[in-house]
Every structure is written in structure tokens, then in C-alpha cells.
């Protein structure tokens, strides 16, 4: 038996992860995913656990190497777009990326910003980033990515307003900027909490 569901989580990776784990708890295993669609097939309840990883800052080569490593660990890995880019045709600029990860192309790292990682459940929480330094680096990347996008959209709102375009255009850009600011603020708070914790503990 299979099931198709449509959801859009955008930058809310935790919500997407909760959704997949909730589905797995009800006996649905993810078999395929696209920008909006999630296709499941039936399995035993709680047979699998899911974790979402943000890899848009990595170059295509580095991302593939990471996927290979995860597969070596016995995990199943699917890629998913997050729709988080400044676009120019099939080239996307990511000022917050690492090295060659600053530019994503198709084919390449384009539309593969997220990894959905699946492993058979063992009754323990499934986490990919556990050490303090790694979690700080991970949330730092998320904050940079969402902040850069929010600032870009805010700049578009100001530009549109200055050029005296229709007010609804400026308001739309501004609303989009605020929407993107939310995951940036969430990542910022998590990062501050981790940094504070790291001053006394390590992991």
C-alpha cells in the first residue's frame, strides 16, 4: 500500500523531520520525495527513523562525499530541494557557502540542498550532529543562509520602494523577508544557547 502527501516546509527542517518521523511511527516509510510531494509505502510502525541535514553550503563534490559516508554507515539517503537561493538561470549564488559551495549549478548541487537520511529504528533518538563544535558549525551555517536570504529580500523591498513601484510589490518583498527571518532568528537563538553551553561543557 502506498500514500502520497503534499507538504511544504521550506526552512523549517525540524518540522519536516517531525513529520517524517510521525509518518514512520504510523507505519509509513518514505520512498520518494520532490519539492512538495512525499510518497510513502506501508511498513511496520516505528520501523524507521529520519533525520534532515542541510548541505546547501557544501560543494557538489563535498556533498556527494558526505552522502557516500552516510551510505557507508548503512543509512539510506535522499536529496531534496529547499528552494533557498539567489537564482540566475541554472546557476545559484550562495554567499554563505564553503569554497566551491558558493555557486550551485544544475546538474550539481542545485535542488539538492537537503538530505533526508533514513535508518532502521533502534529505539534511540536519531541525530547526525551531536558534538558541540559540530552543532555550533551547523547552526552557524543555517543562520548565515537564512540571514543572507532575508537581507536579499529586504534589499529588494527597499529597492522596489525607492523606485516607486506599486506598493504591493514592496510589501510582498518585505513580507517574504520577514518569513525568511524566522528560521534565521531560530538558528541564531539555538546558536547562542550552544555557545553559552560550550563555555562549560563539551558535548
Amino acid at each position: 500500500m502506498s500514500k502520497k502527501m503534499y507538504r511544504f516546509f521550506y526552512g523549517f527542517l525540524d518540522a519536516q523531520q517531525r513529520f517524517l518521523n510521525r509518518m514512520a511511527g504510523k507505519g509509513w516509510r518514505l520512498v520518494r520525495t520532490g519539492r512538495l510531494v512525499y510518497e510513502f509505502e506501508s511498513c511496520g510502525p516505528d520501523a524507521y527513523s529520519y533525520c534532515i541535514d542541510f548541505v546547501a553550503h557544501k560543494s557538489c563534490r563535498s556533498s556527494k562525499d558526505y552522502q557516500r559516508f552516510l551510505e557507508e554507515m548503512g543509512y539510506r539517503v535522499m536529496t531534496k530541494p529547499v528552494n533557498l537561493n539567489f537564482s540566475l538561470g541554472k546557476v545559484r549564488f550562495r554567499p554563505w557557502g564553503e569554497g566551491l559551495g558558493k555557486v550551485a549549478t544544475a546538474p550539481g548541487a542545485f535542488n539538492k540542498e537537503l538530505l533526508i537520511v533514513e535508518k532502521p529504528s533502534e529505539g534511540k533518538p536519531f541525530k547526525l550532529h551531536t558534538s558541540m563544535e559540530d552543532r555550533i558549525a551547523y547552526y552557524g551555517t543555517l543562520r548565515s543562509a537564512w540571514t543572507a536570504l532575508a537581507l536579499g529580500l529586504a534589499a529588494a523591498a527597499v529597492y522596489s520602494f525607492i523606485r516607486d513601484e506599486a506598493l504591493w510589490k514592496s510589501i510582498t518583498w518585505a513580507i517574504l523577508a520577514l518569513v525568511h527571518l524566522r528560521p534565521a532568528v531560530h538558528s541564531h537563538h539555538t546558536l547562542l544557547a550552544l555557545k553559552s553551553e560550550s563555555e562549560v561543557t563539551e558535548s
Partner: protein, 105 residues
């Protein structure tokens, strides 16, 4: 080769170095750490990937070209062994200070 003085290692780096006194692939490193810490440290694959890459970049571990190309194995280098000895000395000194002050309470 002389190892320049380095700061304290993180627990993760130290344990990964110790796990690689014999060749191991990523999953085996993860199991080693969980087993040796009695389950206190359950390492995430993302953190392990970063740690292995960082240690390899520093030349403290190296990848082996093993029989199974799907599973990359790593081993500690002589430089890595010196780093471990330095960290052991640091930890012993710290434990001695703690024992002296607390009187072993």
C-alpha cells in the same frame, strides 16, 4: 617528527584517534566510541564525518586504500600517536591536580 604544542583536544577528537590505533571504517569508529564510553557518547554520523576530515587534514590520521572501496578505512599516523601521548600527559596532570586538591574524596 616534533609536534608543536597544541591546545586541549576535544573528547571526540581524542576518542577518534584512540579508535584508529587499528584500521577502522566510520561505522566501526562509531561503535568503538559508544562501547568504550558505556553508551554515554552516541556519536552522530555528521559529527564523525567532520571529525575524520579534520583529523585527516591535520595529518593525524590517514585513509587506507582497503579491499572494499565502498568502505573507507582510516588509521592513526605517527604524528597522531604523538598528539595522543601529549593529550594523555595533559589529562594525567589535570587528574593529579584534581586528586591533590580534593584529597581523593
Amino acid at each position: 617528527m616534533r609536534v608543536d604544542p597544541i591546545g586541549a583536544l576535544t573528547e571526540l577528537s581524542f576518542l577518534v584517534l584512540l579508535s584508529l590505533y587499528q584500521p577502522r571504517h566510520g561505522y566501526a569508529v562509531m561503535q568503538f566510541i559508544e562501547q568504550e564510553t558505556g553508551g554515554r557518547l552516541c556519536l552522530g554520523a555528521g559529527s564523525l564525518y567532520g571529525a575524520l576530515n579534520n583529523l585527516a587534514d591535520k595529518g593525524w590520521i590517514k585513509a587506507l586504500s582497503g579491499a572494499d572501496p565502498r568502505r573507507k578505512e582510516y588509521i592513526i599516523t605517527s604524528l597522531g600517536r604523538q598528539v595522543v601521548r601529549g593529550e594523555m600527559a595533559r589529562l594525567s596532570e589535570l587528574a593529579a591536580i584534581a586528586a591533590q586538591i580534593t584529597g581523593g574524596e
